[in-house]
Subunit: 395 residues, 2 copies
């Protein structure tokens, strides 16, 4: 066999060594960096006592996020899952609906649908972008749905289909023009899961700002972190107002009165976490530059590496290269396991992609399209260390 698991392992280890050097301690998959105003801003919260849900950093973080992403409104929340839950509710997803999501995604993409009382409906991905395949989606919708007075319906289940959730895998923007075209043809709102894509652009515009609403994540392993955090982005002032209301117990503004308008959530980002976010956002351009430099190093090395290739940003896109990824020429679960064992044992923290969502026990009965590409991706992708500090330009 040309590329045995053992051969692939030694090839990958050699390539990682060329990019990352020999590890003296574990090279993390992605670790945060706090070298800016993080301590100053967090200390200001402690000194003033404003650590919780009221405080200037929440407003400032939302302002900075909107400005950076060139979008009218940003609502800061406790994490990406909460952001996606609220974005779906604000987009009109109701209990008993179906929501179109990629099978190839992190579990939160489907969980947020479940949290609305709705059912995820899984569709396939594209080799070009690792995101949802608009053409396959259009074919699938044509085959399985029908228009009714209440909107688009799944002909088999009878359930209303109420939104499409594209996801930008590892920070690489999916084919947004293609997707928006399909969504428009079928009359479905788009809620963009840009949890991984802060700083990525498609045709010069920021991921997360193409749908009716979009969301970001600032979990500890993301490009910037607030400890735990997320945000909802939208250009629609009424959706922004409603999203804010839904994340703050729907409390009516009043000097002392407690009156709440609807069933809502406590999803506010604490001020101390927002303080971290403000400092991290200031550093984002530098993080993106160094992550791009690291991706360039990986690309150069893997161009000369047999049996596997480096995942590059799609055409017309600029990726944040949140997580760099390698794809095996031949999908092979056994080889993947061997590569993960070898790299992690050698001190390079690598990981596989997610188990396809339709294969998880709680989602195995959900409706889905054929998933030929997603199945191949699951058995051939591996993420390699991607922290900004690994890409510091050499002097």
């Amino acid at each position: 066999m040309l590329n045995s698991p053992t051969e692939l392992s030694s090839t990958l280890l050699s390539a990682l060594g060329q990019v990352l050097g020999t590890p003296d301690s574990l090279v993390a998959l992605h670790e945060p960096e706090f070298a800016g105003n993080e301590w100053k801003y967090v200390k200001e919260c402690l000194d003033t006592g404003w650590v919780s849900s009221v405080g200037k950093f929440v407003d400032e973080f939302e302002r900075m996020l909107a400005e950076f992403n060139d979008v009218k409104h940003a609502v800061a929340v406790v994490n990406g899952t909460a952001a996606q839950h609220i974005a779906l509710l604000a987009a009109g997803v109701r209990p008993g609906d179906e929501v179109i999501v990629p099978a190839f995604s992190f579990v939160a993409t489907a969980n947020a649908v479940s949290h609305c009382g709705a059912v995820p409906h899984f569709v396939d991905s594209s080799f070009d972008t690792l995101g949802m395949d608009p053409q396959a989606l259009a074919d699938h919708l044509s085959n399985m749905s029908e228009r009714s007075a209440g909107g688009l319906r799944n002909s088999s289940t009878g359930r209303r289909i109420s939104a499409i959730v594209p996801m930008h895998t590892f920070g690489h923007p999916m084919d947004l023009a293609g997707l928006l075209d399909v969504a428009g043809r079928f009359g479905l709102p788009v809620v963009e899961d840009a949890a991984e894509a802060l700083g990525s652009t498609y045709q010069g515009r920021h991921a997360g700002t193409f749908g009716l609403l979009g969301i970001l994540s600032f979990n500890g392993n993301k490009t910037i972190t607030t400890g735990g955090g997320g945000a909802i982005l939208t250009n629609d002032p009424e959706l922004a107002r409603h999203a804010k209301q839904l994340t703050t117990t729907a409390k009516r503004a009043h000097r002392w009165e407690f009156f709440h308008d609807e069933v809502a959530y406590n999803y506010r980002l604490p001020n101390i976490n927002a303080a971290l976010g403000c400092a991290q956002l200031e550093r984002l351009p530098d993080f993106l530059k160094r992550k791009r430099h690291l991706a360039q190093k990986y690309r150069d090395v893997f161009q000369k590496t047999p049996g596997m290739s480096f995942i590059e940003e799609p055409r017309d896109c600029r990726s944040n290269y949140w997580l760099n990824a390698i794809r095996l020429d031949t999908p092979d679960r056994a080889a993947l396991e061997e590569l993960l064992r070898a790299t992690n044992d050698a001190g390079y923290q690598c990981r596989p992609t997610w188990t396809l969502l339709n294969k998880l026990p709680m989602y195995s009965g959900c409706p889905r399209a054929d998933l030929p590409v997603a199945n191949v991706l699951e058995e051939s992708l591996i993420n390699v260390p991607s922290s900004a500090k690994l890409g510091a330009p050499q002097s």
Copy 2:
């Protein structure tokens, strides 16, 4: 009229002046204090890069919480609402169930029930404890429920009644012995909403540890704060394990694999917030001592104040006196509004209690008992400034 709103206002202002002095700036209702190891622990998170969901402070905070409350397990989460949501799920609350909650509570008590897809069923409170009245509850359950193969059912709605949620108002423990007796007779699990009651005890045992599960809140206005945070308490190892699983996306532990067992949540408390919690818990005994001293001052002054009385801890209880409260002898909404205006204008941040939950638009159609006491409480209680620093013993 003996106690006109104007007379009551000047009486209350005079009493507050005796306890708190003349404000030179706003005397907050409750503000946090960071004078211990808060900086040190938070800085350690930033210096090590461990700000997010993994890190030693989460484990340490859970250990300290369990130790302080003398309970076997504590699971730290993003806030009290999340804690209550998960505690209800772990206790077996299912979509379409009814859950018994006091009408006199913060909206989160009912929202957590809604988040399970269940329906809150409102019951009355007691003048003695401000918490649920066990005798009124027993009478109500006898009148409106029937036993069936699937458990207790509401005879009118046909829905299963699956839990009782007592709440400890302003930190004063409710009549737990009475409640556990009623719960036992009707075969209902108790999920204790101790969001306000960290440090309060009933017959020497900590509030939050009497039910199948209990919850705490560490919001910015609570006795200790983590920015935003909460915890689930239980003595049952399997419930603790399940609660942890439900708050951490149900991810199976594995070196690299992504496999999730059930629909779950991202409710983890970030490490940076847990760091704050560890430092705050170290200071809790001192906070409780000073808050108790402040309550003593209020009691002394209000014993000599006509038209109103100070709410004292119930018999057999030791309250944390989270929020001190005054009760008007005569319930009077107009007087209450005048008192709130006068005190807040004078620089004492005071607030009314919550709008009864059954009067909020989204809960107005829910089943409920008669609420004679709750209606009186709503029109006669006012919270007064309660920060620990206001109770520093005079030298």
